[in-house]
Every structure is written in structure tokens, then in C-alpha cells.
């Protein structure tokens, strides 16, 4: 147990992989998720292969399977399609977006979010089933997600809290305005899909704004967009569409509210020598470097063992 805790606190991404894999098994075995073992294997295989190929292509120092595994598991949990070809293509697009869609050294989109949205827009043969989690497993799920925060003391949980608080406020305010019984907003919030989104997708430190003020603003914007899509446009998967949309605003938020760039626990990742100097912006996990923070430093990004990756 102790070894496990040490392992997880050394690299929170392992905790994430374990949690996501556990959720996936639970979903496939008990909740009857519409995903076959073959398709899950295909998604994971395609994501790892893409990461490997692009690591070579962009001449990155080493192949790291953790980040693509997290993205692939998230795809397994969310993306649904009858076509193996489209599944593989979505995994490719998900990973490739990390390498290609970059702005100022950061990914523009959360990879899984981009993969799903791109596949839904491009094919019409892909869907996301937000209702399939049901409410029964909600508490266990909540503990698993919150556990992640405790284990890795995630530096960027502020965006999760900002999103959840804003979304909660909007849902309750709407229900109160409509005179709905409390059971309705509670039922809407008891959703595994919402937790997965809040704790594993929007919290991605590589795509959220650099400053704490920026992240709180971002969380609130995504929540407002999600509620608008859900309750004004009457479309499903509000949070996923909203995140993709507001990700485009992150560069603007970073300009307006600058902060320190997030990075991995650099000392462990970097080989000796200054290999990153030549990698420039192509490194999908760029090292800590003082960003162009002009204002006062808003937040110490790396707190404790703050390595953390979202979906």
C-alpha cells in the first residue's frame, strides 16, 4: 500500500492511468458501455503508435507512453463509434493535435476533447453517451476523482473547482427560477460524465491558462457555455463542446492575465545536458521556463510533486 502511494505520488499520471483503467473496466463489465475490448485495444494501440511515430518525427528525446495512454483511456470512456477505422483515426487526431496544434509552446486543445469534437464534426458516425454512467456509482466515482487531487496535490485543481462551482450555481439557479424541485438539479449533477469532465479533462494543465485568475475565468466561461448549450440550445454534451470552444480563447486570456507556464517535474524528465534548448516549441511537454510573465507572479505552479496531466 505504501509502495503504491509512493509510486502514485511520484508520478500522478500513474494514479490517473489506474483510475481511468478502473473506470473503464467498471463501465465495460457492469454498466455495459458500448465499447468492445477490441475497440479499446485499438484506441490505445493507435494512440501509442501515433505518439511513438511523432516522437521520432519531431526528434523528441524519449518516447513517453503515459500521456498517450491517458488520452486513449479517456477516448475509450467517452468516444463511441461502430467503425474501427474512425476509432483509430480519432486516436491519431487526438495525439497529433498535441504536436501540431500549438500556440506559444502549449497545446491549444485538450487532446481528448479535440479528438472527440473533431470526430463528431467530421464524421457524424461518432457519439458520446453522457447518460450511461447512471447515478449508482456516483459516490465511488467522486471519491476516485477527489483521491486524485489528494494524491498529487494538483497544482491546477483551481480550474476544476471554478468550473464545478460555476456549473453548480447555474444549474441550481435555473432550477430555482423555474420552481423545480431540488431533486432535478441534484439528479443533473449526479453524473459520472460530469465528474470525468471536471476532474480529468478541463483540468489539463497543459491547456488551461497560465495564471490562477485566468484559470478561474476559464472554468467559469466553460461552465456558462456548457449550461447554454444544454439548456438554451438543447444539445447534449454541453461541457465537451464548450471546452473546445473556449480553448480557443486561452491565448487571449494568457495575454490579458499572464502567469507562469506549467511544466512537468523537469529534473526527472530531462536527460543531462540542455537537450531542450534545441527542441524549441515542438516538445509537447516543454520544460519549465520562465514564461513571458510580465506582471507579478500570480502562482507558484509547481507545488510539491506537482506533475499532473489531464485527459
Amino acid at each position: 500500500m505504501n509502495t503504491l502511494r509512493k509510486l502514485f505520488s511520484r508520478d500522478p499520471r500513474l494514479y490517473q492511468i489506474a483510475t481511468l483503467a478502473g473506470l473503464l473496466l467498471y463501465g465495460m463489465i457492469w454498466l455495459g458501455f458500448d465499447i468492445t475490448p477490441l475497440q479499446a485495444a485499438l484506441l490505445i494501440g493507435a494512440a501509442l503508435a501515433t505518439q511513438f511515430a511523432l516522437t521520432r518525427l519531431f526528434r523528441l528525446p524519449s518516447f513517453d507512453p503515459r500521456s498517450p495512454t491517458i488520452s486513449a483511456l479517456s477516448l475509450c470512456l467517452l468516444l463511441r463509434t461502430n467503425s474501427h477505422g474512425i476509432a483509430a483515426a480519432a486516436a491519431f487526431v487526438t495525439i497529433a493535435s498535441k504536436f501540431l496544434l500549438r500556440w506559444n509552446g502549449k497545446h491549444l486543445f485538450n487532446p481528448t476533447n479535440f479528438g472527440i469534437v473533431a470526430a463528431m464534426l467530421a464524421t457524424g458516425s461518432v457519439w458520446v453517451s453522457p447518460g450511461q454512467w447512471g447515478n449508482a456509482a456516483f459516490l465511488a466515482f467522486l471519491f476516485a476523482c477527489a483521491g486524485g487531487l489528494v494524491v498529487h496535490r494538483a497544482a491546477r485543481s483551481d480550474v476544476t473547482f471554478a468550473f464545478l462551482a460555476s456549473y453548480l450555481f447555474l444549474i441550481f439557479a435555473r432550477s430555482m427560477n423555474l420552481g423545480e424541485p431540488l431533486a432535478i438539479p441534484l439528479h443533473r449533477l449526479e453524473s459520472g460524465a460530469l465528474l470525468l469532465f471536471s476532474f480529468f479533462m478541463i483540468s489539463d494543465p497543459k491547456t488551461t491558462p497560465d495564471s490562477r485568475a485566468g484559470r478561474i475565468l476559464f472554468g467559469a466561461l466553460v461552465a456558462t457555455g456548457a449550461a447554454f448549450i444544454q439548456f438554451r440550445l438543447f444539445r447534449t454534451n454541453g461541457p465537451i463542446w464548450s471546452l473546445a470552444l473556449f480553448s480557443l480563447l486561452v491565448p487571449v486570456i494568457d495575454l490579458a492575465l499572464p502567469g507562469r507556464r506549467y511544466a512537468w517535474n523537469v529534473t526527472r524528465l530531462l536527460p543531462k545536458g540542455d537537450s531542450h534548448a534545441s527542441l524549441g516549441n515542438l516538445d509537447p511537454d516543454p520544460p519549465l521556463r520562465p514564461s513571458r510573465a510580465r506582471g507579478p507572479r500570480v502562482l507558484r505552479v509547481l507545488r510539491g510533486q506537482g506533475r499532473y496531466e489531464a485527459l
Binding site: 454498466l31 455495459g32 461518432v126 457519439w127 453517451s129
Partner: protein, 411 residues
């Protein structure tokens, strides 16, 4: 083939939802058995409806949908073990309609209830109402003889604030006598709205116990599921004891109740999802293009010439709901899933010829194991007592070799 249709349920409602892009055609079939003058419905609808958007349909279309998609029993006959043919058979399992009964424009106005339109369509007198205040609407409905349950006002308020209108229908007895229908035909409405939902909350106010609802969704692309409740596939493709041939309806009811219990009444069940062009086995022939058009499948004309393939995917959902477990209205989405699914149960008849050959002995042994397995499956699916199931199957202890494996070695 035997089938278990919706007639098995007393208080069941059936709804057909035809949907593509933002266009919806809703058909509401009710099983109202009382005096037609007592009948009235209040249905929240997302938009104003003109007379052309309302139609009175043919109940037989819904019945056909029901028969075509209901859970089925399939029979197979074992081949001669000493040396394969297949036959099949079926049995089957209705929308929440709030019953109310009564009218006056001036009074409505003074209350703040607007009668936006009044139509006579078929045997129905139809009003489209909008209101500013739920209490006023409740008062108006009561004054006009609609027996609206206490507490409805709170539910009405939410619908009013989100801009929903109220579709209110009663039976015009003279029209009904003139038209000569002895039963109430289903009401159909067509509207364009992004809301892909079914308001069930009004029907739950003051309901005596849980209600049964069947939703037949006809779409172009693929399977329909609920986005705010789990959609769960009904257990299917199990071998069950032969005696269910006579008791399939009872089996289906018991099995459905057991599944509802297991999911803690928090799930919507998928009973059928299939491309309308074919079926295997067919519980009833697929619906003709004309029948589909009657149900409101509006995209058929745009498609291929008559006789060509109908791009229609049918999803049959079944739920048992009450206020405590289904606090929200049902919200749906159309997925791209075209995987076929049917609730299907298998009867395997033993070979009844001469099995005295060597392989025959092995066959008889596996047969005994198979019967025992069927009993266990049935008990688990329905929650029936295993001993009772075995008694009905005629399984005596002698027919199953319960000796330990080592007791059998040296006999």
C-alpha cells in the same frame, strides 16, 4: 414465434417519436377505457401548433410497431445427435397521458391564460394554451372540468417559464358519433424544435404507483438513447425452459420487473433497435412505407422511389417510472449506432427420436445439464424460485445426476 406485446400492461402508454434534425412528429396512443366524455389530455409542447400540425392517426400503426418490435421467443429443435433446422415463434409489452375532462375565452383572459388557438381535428376538440402563471392555468383547467391533480401547478410553472405551450384535447362526442369510432384514436403533432424530449412529469403528479411507458423512436441515422438516464439493454439471447411457450407473457412481465428492481428503477430499457428494412426473426412484418408515413416519417418522399429501402431505424424503449426515481423529463439523443438488438429468448427442443447410439448417451447427459442451466437462468432473470421453476419444468432430482464426480467414476 411468440411475442409479448404492450397489451400485457394495464396502465401503459405508448408514444411514437419520429425525429430527424430538429423536426419531430409525436404520436400519442392511449389506452383510455372509460366514458369518452371523461377523456382529456394536457401535453406540454415546445412550440405553438397550427391546425395543420395536428392530426388524428390510426391506432393500428402503433399496434403494428408494437408487434414488430416486441420481445420474442424463438424455438430451435435439436438435430439428431446420432447424425439442423430452425423454427421460431413470439409474444409482446403504452405514453403517459394525464386524464382530465371541460371551456371559456373571457374567463381565460381574465386569469392570464391565453387560448392561442382552438381546432377541431377528427373527434377531438383541441386548444393551444399559453399562460403567464401556473396557478392561473391550474384554475382555468379546473374550472373547465379538467381534473388536474393537486401539485400540478408546480410542474406547470417550469414548463411556462421555459416557453412551452399546452396542448389540451377533449373528445367532441358529436364528432365522434358522426365519425363512428368507438375507441379513441391516437393524436399526432408535428413540430420543429431542438428539444428532443418527452415531458413525463405532469403525468406523475398524483399517479397511483409507477407507470409504464413505451417509446418507439423512428430516426434516420441510428439508435436513440436517453441522455439523462441510463439506457440499459434488456437481457437477451438466453436459453429458457420450454414451458415458457405457454407462459411467455408472464415471463416477460416478471423478467422486466426483476430488471427494474436490479437497476433500482433508475434505467430506461432498450428492447429493440433495428434497421426497419428487415428483421430476424420477424415478430411481425416490417411496416410498409405507407404505414411509416402515417406515423410521420417525413423523409421517405425525399428518398428512393417507392419499394426501395426505407432509411428508418427503430428504437423501442421501455421504462417503469415514478416521481422518486425519474425526477426529470426524458431527454433523448440520436446516436450513430446501427447495431441491431432485440430482446429474444430461446426455446431448445430436445431431439425426440432414437438416441441409443454412443453419441446419444453423451447427448442425454448434456441435455440434463442444459435443462438445469435453463432453470437457473430463468430463476435469475425473473426472481422466481428455482424450485418452482424446476417443478414446472418437470425436473425431478433423478433427472439430474447430482452425485459427486468421484461417485460416478466407479459406479
Amino acid at each position: 414465434m411468440a411475442k409479448a406485446d404492450t397489451k400485457l400492461y394495464n396502465r401503459a402508454s405508448q408514444v411514437a417519436l419520429v425525429r430527424d434534425a430538429d423536426r419531430t412528429v409525436l404520436t400519442m396512443a392511449n389506452d383510455f377505457q372509460g366514458d369518452p366524455k371523461e377523456f382529456a389530455v394536457v401535453v406540454p409542447v415546445p412550440t405553438f401548433l397550427t391546425k395543420e400540425q395536428i392530426h388524428v392517426g390510426d391506432k393500428s400503426r402503433i399496434d403494428h410497431l408494437d408487434a414488430y418490435s416486441s420481445p420474442r421467443l424463438v424455438e430451435y429443435f435439436d438435430p439428431d445427435p446420432c447424425q439442423a433446422m430452425r423454427q421460431s415463434l413470439m409474444v409482446r409489452g403504452e405514453a403517459p397521458v394525464l386524464k382530465m375532462s371541460g371551456d371559456s375565452a373571457n374567463r381565460a383572459k381574465s386569469l392570464g391564460v391565453t387560448i392561442e388557438a382552438r381546432y377541431t381535428v377528427g373527434e377531438y376538440d383541441i386548444l393551444i394554451l399559453s399562460a403567464k402563471e401556473s396557478s392561473a392555468l391550474e384554475t382555468w383547467l379546473k374550472e373547465n372540468g379538467y381534473r388536474i391533480p393537486a401539485g400540478a401547478s408546480a410542474v406547470l410553472a417550469g414548463y411556462i417559464k421555459t416557453g412551452m405551450r399546452f396542448f389540451v384535447a377533449k373528445v367532441d362526442l358529436k364528432e365522434q358519433a358522426r365519425l363512428g369510432f368507438s375507441y379513441l384514436r391516437p393524436i399526432q403533432v408535428a413540430y420543429e424544435s431542438p428539444k428532443f424530449m418527452l415531458p413525463i412529469r405532469l403525468g406523475m403528479v398524483n399517479a397511483n404507483g409507477p407507470q409504464e411507458l413505451f417509446v418507439y423512436a423512428l430516426t434516420r441515422k441510428g439508435r436513440v438513447e436517453t441522455t439523462n438516464y441510463r439506457t440499459v439493454k434488456l437481457p437477451s439471447n438466453m436459453d429458457v425452459p420450454l414451458y415458457l411457450r405457454e407462459e411467455f407473457a408472464g415471463f416477460y412481465r416478471a423478467m422486466f420487473s426483476q430488471q427494474v428492481r436490479q437497476e433500482r428503477m433508475q434505467a430506461v430499457f432498450l428492447e429493440y433497435a433495428w434497421d426497419m428494412n428487415w428483421c430476424d426473426p420477424c415478430a411481425a412484418a416490417p411496416l410498409s412505407r405507407e404505414e411509416l408515413r402515417d406515423l410521420g416519417v417525413f423523409w421517405l418522399e425525399e428518398g428512393a422511389s417507392a419499394g426501395g429501402a426505407s432509411p428508418v431505424f427503430l428504437t423501442r424503449l421501455h421504462l417503469r417510472y415514478d416521481n422518486a426515481h425519474f425526477p426529470e423529463d426524458l431527454v433523448f439523443q440520436e446516436t450513430a449506432d446501427r447495431t441491431n438488438f432485440q430482446a429474444r429468448y430461446v426455446l431448445r427442443h430436445a431431439f425426440d427420436g432414437d438416441t441409443s447410439c454412443g453419441a446419444g448417451a453423451e447427448y442425454r447427459r448434456t441435455l440434463a445439464e442444459r435443462r438445469e442451466q435453463e432453470a437457473t437462468t430463468l430463476a435469475r432473470l425473473t426472481g422466481w424460485r428455482a424450485s418452482e421453476v424446476r417443478r414446472k419444468m418437470g425436473l425431478t432430482n433423478a433427472s439430474i445426476d447430482e452425485r459427486k464426480w468421484y461417485e460416478r467414476i466407479w459406479k
